[in-house]
Each structure stands twice: as C-alpha cells, then as structure tokens.
Symmetry: C2
Subunit: 341 residues, 2 copies
Amino acid sequence: MNIKEVAKKAGVSVATVSRVLNHPESVAPDTKQRILDVIQELEYTPNWFARGLNFNKTDTIGLLIPNILNPSYMEIAKGVEDVSHQKNYNTLLCNGENAIEKERKYVDILVKRRVDGIVLVSSLLESDDIENITKQGIPVVLIGENRGDIKGIPIVRIDCEGASYKAVRHLIDIGYKDIAIIYGSTPEKENKRKVDGYRQALAEEGITEREEYLQEAPNTIEGGYIAGKRLNDLKHRPRAIFTSSDILAFGAIDAMKDHGVKVPEEVAFVGFDNIRMSNLIEPKLTTVEKPMHKMGVVGARLLFDIIDTKGEDITNREILLQSKLKIRKSCGHKERIGEIF
Amino acid sequence: MNIKEVAKKAGVSVATVSRVLNHPESVAPDTKQRILDVIQELEYTPNWFARGLNFNKTDTIGLLIPNILNPSYMEIAKGVEDVSHQKNYNTLLCNGENAIEKERKYVDILVKRRVDGIVLVSSLLESDDIENITKQGIPVVLIGENRGDIKGIPIVRIDCEGASYKAVRHLIDIGYKDIAIIYGSTPEKENKRKVDGYRQALAEEGITEREEYLQEAPNTIEGGYIAGKRLNDLKHRPRAIFTSSDILAFGAIDAMKDHGVKVPEEVAFVGFDNIRMSNLIEPKLTTVEKPMHKMGVVGARLLFDIIDTKGEDITNREILLQSKLKIRKSCGHKERIGEIF
DNA sequence: ATGAAAGCGCTAACAG
DNA sequence: CTGTTAGCGCTTTCAT
C-alpha cells in the first residue's frame, strides 16, 4: 500500500495526499476528508524509509548504558524513556556490557540509523569517539561521567567525590577507623572520584591508608562477594566498608554472612545508589541516595532541548544533581536513623 | 557524503560503488580496491533510509516487555539481546508498563518502522492485535503467555501451573496447611495458571480454600508489601505464603518483618522466578527457578529462524522449558536444602 | 567488468 | 487549492 494507490482511489494527485499528511491546513476540507477516508479504508501508513529519506529525521534517540541487568542503570533508562515516550519519540536501548568495542559498535549503528540524539550513560568512550558523533551533527548528552575528557558536551551528574566523602565521614563520625572501600572497575572515572572522596575523609582525620583496604572489583553482586571475601580474609579485617554501589555492598554483605561475620556488629557497611532493593536486605543498607530516575529525565530533557533548538545556545552545560546520605541499619549507627545531606 | 561523490572521486559510476558494497565479487580487484580506498578516505557510509527503501529490511527486531524495572523481564531481555546482537541485529526495547494502550502504541511504532520481527513478553495484547502484526508480514514470537488466545503463533514458556503445584505441594509436604497465595495482576494468564496450580495442590490434600488467602496485587515490591500486610492483618494469619513472583515475596516478607512477624518461623515463603537477588535477602528465598535468560535466547532464536526461512515450515511451535524448585531457607524446611524437580 | 537509467515511496518547489 | 515534477540516496536490470 503506497501513496500512489491512495491518490488514485481518492482521485487526486500524490502531492495532495502527502499534503493532508504533512500540512493538513493547506487542503480543502472536503478533499481532505475524502482522502482521510481512503487512507483509513486502505490502512495506509507512509513508508518509514521514504519519509526518512526526505526528512532525514527518525524521531528516535539512542540510549547506551553499561549494563542492562544493573537496576540502577535501568532506573536511569526508565527516566529517559519516560521523557522520550512522552515526546512521541522512540528509544533504542543499547547494552554496552562494559566493553568499549561493544559500545563503539552500538554507537556506530546509532549513527548509521541517523538517530536524532544519543544519551550516553557512564560510557567508556574516549573523547574522540564522542567527537565523531557530534561531528556528524548528532547531539550527545552524558549522564554520569565518561572515561574521556569531554569539552562542551552537556552532562548531568552528581558530585561523586563529595557524596563519598560524606559517606565515609559518617562512618568516621560513628567511631570507625579501619575503613575499607570496594569500588567497581566501571564506571572508571566516577569510581576514581569515589575513591578520592574516601581518601580525603580518611586523610582529614589523619587515618593512614592501607593499600589492602582498597579493593577493586567488577561492578556486580558477584564482584562484591569476592572483594568482600578478600577483605574478610585479611589479617586485620576492616571494621567498616564503603562500596561504590549498592550491588557491590549486597555481594560483600553476603560474603560476610557466609563466613559468619555479623553485619553491622562486626563489619559496618555504607553503599551507593539507593536502589529499591537496598532497604530489603538484612540489615537495611545505609547508602548514598542517587536520584537516578531524575538523572534520566533531566538528561533526556536536555537532549530534546538541543534537538528542538538545533543546539543554538546550549553550550557546555553541566547539571549537578544533589544526593543525600540515607542512614539505615547497615552502618551500625545507634540513633540517627534518617537522612542527612 | 553520498555514493555519488565516492563515484566521482574514484572515477567510476555509482553502480560500481554500489556493487563493491553489495556484490564485491562482481567487481574487478583493482577497481574494487580503489573504491574501497576512497570510501575509507571519505568516511562514507551508505544512507540507511535509501538502503531500506530498496531492501525493505531493517536488521532490527522489536522487543516489548511489561516493565523495564522488573529484573526478571530484564533477564529475558538480555537473552534476546544477546542473540540479536550476535546476529548483528539491533533491538528496539519497548516498555509496555503493563498498559495495553502503551503496548498498542509501541507495536504500532514497531510495525511502522518495519522491524523484521517482534518478540512479545507476557503481553496484554489481544489476538486481534497480534493478527494485525502478522498480517503485515512481520513475524511474532511470544515469550510467556499472552492475554489473548493465540493460534499459530510460536511461543516459549514454562509450565506455570505445574511449577506452582509443586511449589505449594512442597509447602504442604513440610506440614503447612494454612497456605495463602499472593499473585500479580499481571501477567494475567500466567498468574491465573499459578493460582490454578495452587488450588490443585490444596484440593488434592482436601484443604478447603479460604477466599481471603487469595491476594491479588500489582506485580511490584510495593504490591507485595501491601498484600503481605493484608494477610498479616487477617484474624487467622496464614502459616505459609506462595507468591507468583520473587519481587512480590520481597515486599511481603518486608511487610512481615515490619510487623514483627518472623520468617520463616511464623510465616514461610516460596517465591517464583529465582532472580539474582532472591538468595540475598534474609532468609534466602525458596523459589521456583524460571530460566529467564534461556527463554529470551530461545525466543530470539525462534524468531530468527522464522525471519531467515521466511517462516516456511515453522507453524504453531510451542517450546516448553523446564523450571525447578530451588529450596532455600524461607520455606522453613529443616533438612532438604537443595533442588528438586 | 562497467555504465546508464529506472525505480523504491515520499516531499516540496513551482506552476497554474 | 491542486497537479506536475524533480529530487532524496541507493540498488538493480539492461546494455555494452
């Protein structure tokens, strides 16, 4: 079914049919109605490719996330999708799987498909890769920090370093000194910042850092388990552990329990993200609340701003969202159950 | 950058350039090389729309799931994506949000975009909706049962009824009689089957059903919490609860704990799905292991079979996958920690 | 082995 | 207000 058949059946030219689809106001009411009827009758829908060939626009955005099975990324994805769906856009969700080649491949596909914009979540891409995208006129927005240094690419993020500092500070305030950190290998830069925040809190208190208290691990439950076990096997087991994500904490807590270590009585925990599950495990996890859904929403809005205005005045925008420390049970704090900034 | 410029620069006709891209063997080695060089130099990539206009093929499949935040659906999605990515296909992930209008809208978009096939996960669509898709020549595969009765649409699923029967049977074997069920409002049909399995197990034992032990709830953690609370408020609280999904169990267990009820000492639990988190909560959840990733993989393979063979001999295929009962702590079983069929 | 040209389905400028 | 027609970028006969 194509426009020609519709035109023939309605006794008009293809141009007129095209008009009722794209500029309905410029067509006489009765001809318009007649054509509309035929369209309905023939169940005609314009060919997607032909349209694209003319408009060079897809009403689609690409969304690249590091791991589709990680709930915190999915919450961001949900935020993006909410906005894009509401704008009648489609979202092409790509699962980078923490592998730069896979990310590159996906970006390639997205570019080839002429998506109208791309949202990159904590990606591994280098600045060159990103430049390649924008050079083709496709706007990019970052959610969470990227590996490469990016100049002039809008980004929405939180203050990882500050948030981590406060989290560790809280642990110190309670009275712990032997504090370890488990940080994910990805996303690289953000986790580096989290380590920095951790260090800063320790340094401020004159606590000397122990090499073996810095544990890197894949950012998965399993990764957390292994790192937790390593920490437990240490001659001098830490009294408290800060993790760069909740799922790492889940794994590490599980490891402790498996080895008969009591949480938080023997080892206290503070996580990062506040995913939905974090107050369901035992003990409920004290964690940094990262506004993931909101980050997705804000990121998508930013992207659409650029798309809609063709990126006129939006240069080098950086949006910093707030995160709070959510104090629950796992940190072993006696009284202050609640939230602080 | 388009094919014309490449042709000009290489001193050949556009036809020849097109040939090296689509039928390289039909071009003289040296001309081919020359053209390849120019392509590289000019960073030429064929226009996706123009290609589509000719081939009417997108190398894209659509995947519609009920809820992007539900880990069990994401595991299925991962399975589908794994296969499709490996086949160099793209996956358009759509979040139906348990709303039939949103599902319809998405399917509409997918059809308009001429995706090469669609995977529907436990969708709300009626058989008419699905017929509308297949009528347009787009193959459809179902993962998990649909709302409508579908004839001749390939499906991969598990035996919900049998699995639930065994789960409840296990509860009975341990010695419980007052057994309740919390079942999600979606996916409708599968949960109906789970209720059937539950009923059958009770009936077999001559246990009379109590109306108030059948609790329907939204298939979310929150839904589980509310249903759990309702069950706890009952004059005669059940001694054991079977839930149609793990996340419902998570919510209900949380509710019990909040009200000072001990799990499994006072109320035992058996879930359904065996998502990764289910052995991290306290107590570790006894649950029906549903092979979600595998369902995704098998479903996608099935779809590609149809796409590749143009659906010649694949009629009315139904693939039934096995699920096991995974016995952990939450059911309160003393000895048999492990797996049974 | 290569080129010329038709055509995929649609949009928009130009004429009337 | 509507029709004619020239593209959009590519693939593929049909010649040569």
